[in-house]
């Protein structure tokens, strides 16, 4: 056993002769560690401490607030990862579980998370009465719900596409399920999971900002964090403080991207499933630094140790060559199906009863009418954003040097929580006395339009050079060029971007249709406003109805518009 451990141990020993990079990396890492411990102390404090140390607008406190926010983010990311590994693996390995979990994940992806806050905050506060932990958990859970579903979905899809021949090797050598998971499934799915976690994390910022200061009925919970700092700034109409919050947000996003995700993406590149050496591997200065300092094995050691620990629990080796297909018992199958149908019946009856007991026609028509208004907004906004960003994205994407520079910026803007910028819009609307029904709308797409941009850029960069040369040689230009070269080329990418943008816009409507600046309250008509008002009033039933209607609309939109478009693009326009 020692022979396998020795290399990493000797690497640790060599650290006693430190070099400059060692010092830099050590400083950064220990700084991070101290900050994390210091922050963690605040998390378990009693709830009354929130009142003793109220959030203040002093910029000196902002780093601490930012750290609390980041810690929430990472707690949620950790929870999402654990959830993903367990649930997605279960869905991929068990046919029965898969049939329930996969559609559930698909639906949960479309449910407006912001609407959830009402329920989760109440739930978690009752779970830990009198402790900050409850409110913290509610906030973490809000972020979790924005990450977990699509991470699990991506992991599930990776597991389903594990190459047959590698699977056969595992069966042929009789690898235990656990060993197979660690040796094949997990490495294979890692690159997609890391990429997805990065994108989900970007989405999470939006919700952490919205979930730190929340009022449900007459309960107000304010956690120290950038979000609550911002909320206070808005309440006190402190323009400078809003600026500080925006700046802090930008710094935090840049830092976690450079110090956390870039290194992980660079590291995960080794798991990319390709048999030839890649042309350009993702690079990260921090990853390079860790590698040069030989700190990487130390950082990764806990993971390896965890894997080894799990493997000691492994059952005895199976005789190799045993048949891999097991026929399920006939009666077990019957019982399972019966159970599922019973569950469905009970759930339907229960929901129906609950709905019928209070749902009035007036409520329903209002929710549906508001949904139509919001839908109109989403359609118009996506159309407008497409008109702007598709041509721009194509032009940028066709210039590789420019695209290289713009792409990270677009991704950064997509990660930036747009709700931080809402106050500026409100000030403008109040100043010029504009109609909220029209001018609040752009806020919905403020943060999500970038998905269209960076997907179109990626699509345009992927148009093969020979196609462009052929088009140029035959003098194809103007509208014909757009119609026959550029638009078909970027279409599949555009659909991906527009799908994300549209889903995000629905979600954002909950915070974008009702906004405040001090005592100015602006309200647009729409389903988002309906849910937001119901939340403030503590009317759980209306919140539930609003969420249900919005979920239906988002799902319907995806199924009836985006999926067919996506299928069309895949079938007819895929350039490969």
């Amino acid at each position: 056993m020692t022979s396998t451990r020795l290399p990493s141990f000797s690497r640790m020993l060599r650290l006693s002769r430190p070099n400059r990079e060692d010092a830099i990396a050590f400083a950064i890492l220990s700084g991070l560690a101290v900050l994390v411990f210091r922050t963690a102390e605040g998390v378990v404090a009693p709830l009354s401490s929130l009142d003793l140390e109220p959030v203040t607008l002093d910029p000196a406190h902002l780093p601490y607030y930012a750290l609390r926010t980041v810690l929430r983010m990472f707690a949620a990311l950790f929870a999402s990862t654990v959830f993903t590994l367990v649930v997605a693996t279960l869905a991929a390995r068990s046919r029965h579980a898969g049939r329930l979990i996969v559609p559930a994940l698909d639906i949960l992806q479309s449910v407006p998370i912001l609407g959830f806050l009402t329920f989760t905050v109440t739930f978690f506060m009752n779970l830990f009465p009198g402790s900050v932990l409850g409110v913290e958990l509610a906030s973490v859970f809000a972020i979790f719900t924005s990450q977990a579903w699509n991470m699990a979905f991506s992991f599930y899809q990776s597991l389903r596409s594990v190459p047959d021949d590698l699977e056969e090797v595992c069966y042929g050598f009789g690898l235990s399920p656990l060993r197979r998971f660690l040796r094949l499934d997990l490495p294979y799915a890692t690159p997609a999971l890391v990429w997805n976690a990065m994108m989900s994390m970007s989405g999470g910022w939006f919700f952490v900002v919205a979930s730190e200061a929340i009022t449900v009925g007459n309960t107000t919970a304010t956690l120290p964090g950038i979000g609550s700092y911002l909320a206070l700034a808005i309440q006190q109409q402190d323009f400078r403080a809003v600026g500080w919050a925006v700046g802090a947000m930008a710094v935090v996003i840049l830092a976690y991207d450079q110090l956390f995700f870039r290194p992980i993406v660079a590291w995960a590149d080794r798991f990319r499933f390709e048999q030839t050496a890649g042309a350009d591997a993702p690079r990260s200065w921090f990853h390079g630094l860790l590698r040069r300092t030989r700190l990487l094995p130390v950082v990764l050691a806990p993971l390896g140790a965890l894997g080894r620990l799990l493997l000691t629990l492994e059952p005895r080796p199976r005789r190799s060559g045993a048949a891999r297909v097991r026929q399920p018992g006939h009666w077990a199958e019957r019982a399972w199906q019966l159970g599922v149908w019973l569950g469905v019946a009970v759930a339907l009856g229960w929901t129906g009863h609950y709905l019928l007991s209070w749902l009035t026609m007036a409520d329903l028509t209002q929710a549906l009418g508001d949904a139509l208004i919001t839908m109109l907004r989403v359609i118009v906004l996506i159309a407008l954003a497409s008109l702007v960003w598709v041509p721009l994205g194509v032009m940028i994407g066709l210039r590789p040097r420019l695209a290289e520079r713009v792409q990270p910026v677009a991704q950064f803007l997509a990660a930036f929580p747009a709700n931080v910028l809402f106050p500026f819009a409100v000030i403008a609307i109040v100043r010029f006395d504009l109609a909220p029904d029209v001018w609040l709308s752009p806020l919905m797409i403020l943060g999500t339009q970038w998905y269209i941009l960076f997907n179109v850029i990626a699509g345009a960069s992927a148009i093969p050079n020979d196609l462009r040369e052929a088009a140029g040689m035959f003098g194809v230009k103007g509208w014909q060029w757009w119609r026959q070269v550029a638009l078909p080329g970027v279409f599949p990418y555009y659909v991906t971007g527009a799908l994300t943008a549209s889903g995000g816009s629905w979600n954002a409507s909950i915070v974008a249709e009702v906004v405040t600046w001090g005592d100015h309250h602006l309200r647009a008509h729409g389903l988002g406003a309906y849910i937001a008002d119901a939340t403030t009033a503590g009317n759980y039933r209306q919140v539930a109805l609003g969420i249900a209607v919005m979920s239906l609309f988002v799902l319907g939109f995806n199924r009836l518009v985006w999926r067919p478009l996506y299928a069309f693009g895949e079938r007819r326009l895929r350039l490969s």
């Binding site: 190459p163 021949d165 056969e168 042929g172 050598f173 009789g174 050496a277």
Partner: protein
């Protein structure tokens, strides 16, 4: 060699039937296969794609549970636990593991202690000629080196039977030859810890070069149609007359129709009438093949083995082409000889328009599905018919995959011959051409 000793059986396969698709029913891929593997022999499974030979290999490996029939491993005094290990066509290496880690994988699963694992893996790597590459990742290696890793990984667990699934077909000709020779050297010197080798291939020369016994499979469904003992002494020389004769003989057996009495007009493909499964063969390659056989040195008659050599075709490429020519009455297969008919020789000399006309005539006369589609289009006032309708008709007789491939093929042939056309947008066949 060891032929005097009564052969000790190693694996016995009895009455194997296997279907694709959910039971009951499904598409029959293996029909009633019996096979006994003995110690100290190299056995080849030779057949075209779709002959179920890989399915048989996987049944023996325990990766697939056949619908009917048994696979028994027979223990004997010198081989108490006959285990198997497999080498894959695609190498099936883990890209995130080094060569050494890949080779250790099977031992790790068996919980062999680390020091022993290391020793055995290094020994296998040494045996197979991979020294110096222990720490390389698969993507840093050439195809040949990768397959050596696959081989070392299989050998290190000391299997009684080594299963090889087209192990050299993803490699270029020279690399494949080197690997084959190295493997045969190790085998004849008895340096590998294995009792027998079972190799799946669709390369006839490879089978003759490597095997003591060759089982020839027919396609759709897979059945053993011939068992051939190869008695040519090793090392075998491809240019040796007995070697060539055996290769020709196998070509002849593989082109033989199920029963020689079957009249030519029923064609060679499974199914009859419009339900005939058509292979995906492009009209360009058909024209090319006709020209090749029509020209020097063949002058209208060529042996399949020579054609395969001169065009560098595998049997999976060549057989469907030759059989399509036969279906269209442009050629006749006699033994292992491909003979062009007078029509084909005229085709070779004709210009584009005449070629299309000749092809169209042959298509409508001899491919029932093409005639059927044309007839329907002629009968309808609009001269249009949805493709869905023909797809449904085909799916009554064959699996959706075969139906889709058959329809695609007939569409291509029909378009080339200008006897009908197809629009993807509305999924319709029609007579008219675009204006």
């Amino acid at each position: 060699m060891a032929t005097i000793v009564p052969a000790q059986p190693l694996i016995e396969v009895k009455g194997l039937n296997h279907f694709y698709g959910p039971p009951p029913g499904g598409h029959l891929v293996l029909e009633n296969v019996d096979l006994t593997l003995y110690q100290n022999e190299v056995v080849g499974l030779l057949g075209r794609s779709g002959s179920g030979k890989s399915t048989l290999l996987r049944s023996i490996a325990g990766l697939i549970q056949p619908r009917q029939g048994t696979v028994t491993r027979i223990a004997s005094p010198d081989c108490p636990d006959p285990s198997v290990a497999m080498v894959f066509q695609t190498f099936a290496l883990f890209p995130w593991l080094t060569v050494l880690q890949n080779v250790e994988l099977g031992l790790e699963a068996q919980k062999v202690p680390a020091p022993e694992r290391r020793t055995r893996a290094l020994a296998a790597i040494d045996l197979i000629g991979l020294d110096g590459f222990e720490n390389a990742y698969p993507k840093e290696l050439s195809g040949g080196m990768r397959q050596r890793v696959g081989l070392a990984r299989a050998l290190v667990v000391n299997p009684a039977l080594l299963l090889m699934d087209e192990p050299f077909s993803a490699l270029d000709v020279l690399t494949a030859e080197t690997l084959r020779t190295d493997l045969l050297d190790l085998w004849s010197e008895g340096r590998m810890p294995i009792q027998s080798i079972l190799i799946v291939t669709h390369n006839i020369e490879e089978a003759v070069q490597m095997c003591d016994r060759i089982l020839v499979f027919s396609s759709n469904p897979g059945r053993v149609v011939a068992e051939i003992k190869v008695d040519i002494p090793r090392p075998r020389d491809r240019l040796d007359p007995p070697f060539r004769a055996l290769v020709d003989d196998i070509y002849a057996r593989m082109t033989a129709r199920p029963s020689d009495a079957a009249p030519l007009r029923e064609g060679v493909f499974p199914g009859t009438g419009i339900a005939m499964v058509l292979p995906h063969v492009s009209t360009n390659t058909l024209a090319g093949l006709i020209e090749e056989v029509d020209g020097t040195p063949f002058n209208g008659q060529a042996s399949m083995a020579e054609l395969a050599d001169s065009l560098n075709f595998e049997i999976d490429d060549l057989f469907p082409m030759a059989e399509t020519l036969q279906l269209l009455r442009f050629a006749e297969l006699r033994g292992a000889q491909l003979l062009l008919t007078p029509a084909a020789r005229r085709y070779a000399q004709a210009d584009v328009d005449h070629r299309k006309a000749m092809f169209g005539e042959a298509l409508l006369a001899h491919v029932p599905l093409a005639g059927h589609i044309r007839r329907i289009l002629d009968e309808r006032a609009s001269h249009k018919a949805p493709a869905r309708r023909f797809r449904d008709e085909l799916e009554d007789h064959m699996s959706p995959d075969f139906a889709s491939e058959t329809l695609k093929t007939v569409t291509n042939w029909g378009r080339y011959a200008e006897v009908f056309t197809y629009h993807e947008d509305d999924d319709q066949f029609s007579l008219e051409d675009p204006q």
